[in-house]
Symmetry: C2
DNA sequence: AGAATTATCTAACCATGTAAACTACCTTGG
DNA sequence: CCAAGGTAGTTTACATGGTTAGATAATTCT
């Protein structure tokens, strides 16, 4: 190796300082996003609701894998959504252990309502960026997605 | 098409779907980063340790503002770092209410150790990206930083 | 049938955010 | 100069949402 502070293979193009900034920024941004609370539902619940909406009917296990968390975590959140009448859980007719989870009508309504209000929040902050900055974000989006793709061995969850 | 689903001012260039993906991705990436635990210290403690290192000597209030959390949260984390002998707290000679917080020698050592090990973790995952993807990330980094800059009114913390 | 596996839930724990109330100190106006 | 009010920080009590370990029930395998 010929570089002054090589951190690893591809890191010829990324400095130690940039690495640190990346960590800190992504960590903090995540916290800000998870904590800003448009409405009644917390981030975890909203994320789960959307996940169900995208994959319904689905199972607790699939949701856990999709969210990148452990099943007990999903179970609890699911119970909350159940109590709120936003989702329904039915026994799988084929496999008696599993359950089929899907949105209720109220859940569908809540989903679109949230979609709108969440967008409002994010949009407001994206509004502070210039058009160029926004484009940079969009281009980087797939990379960010890849970075946190559970299929890429990142999560110890599975 | 010009813009089928405009969400707000600058959003001519960002679709509703991209907005959602951005939210979800940043939220999840944040969680992954905050939970991966190279070592003994949690994300919050590491972040605080670095913050102190950057600004020392500093005060609890400044740290809270900097971290974008409330003072009680800082107090507790600070106590942990105190117990671990990584930081020290001295009464401010001028203002008896405030305290001056700074790293101990052990704190400084821990800081550089962490810097290295954290980098290793992130680097490993960045290694899965191509050189081009990495460059996209780097270019987008300042934008992400701006997005979560507390000076930009995002945090309700102040 | 009996054993192993699988899907899920329960229970207990931990970390870390919050708001509200309290303490101690500083500052200032009568 | 001292009482009133503001400010820094802590304590307390609570909520959320992650974890692991262990229980339960249904399925699958031999």
């Amino acid at each position: 190796m010929s570089n002054p502070t090589p951190v690893s293979r591809t890191s010829e193009s990324i400095s130690r300082e940039e690495l640190t900034r990346l960590r800190m920024t992504l960590g903090r941004l995540g916290r800000v996003l998870r904590q800003q609370n448009d409405d009644g539902l917390s981030y975890a619940l909203i994320s789960l609701l959307f996940s169900i909406g995208r994959n319904q009917p689905t199972t607790a296990g699939e949701l856990a894998a999709g969210e990148g968390v452990t099943p007990p975590s999903v179970t609890r959140s699911l119970n909350r959504l159940l109590e709120l009448g936003l989702v329904k859980r039915e026994r799988d007719p084929v496999d008696g252990r599993a359950s089929r989870i899907s949105l209720t009508a109220a859940g569908v309504a809540e989903r679109s309502r949230l979609l709108r209000s969440r967008e409002v929040w994010l949009s407001e902050h994206l509004d502070r960026l210039t058009r160029e900055e926004l484009d940079l974000l969009l281009v980087a989006l797939p990379v960010l997605e890849r970075l946190c793709d559970p299929e890429l061995d990142i999560t110890p969850g599975d």
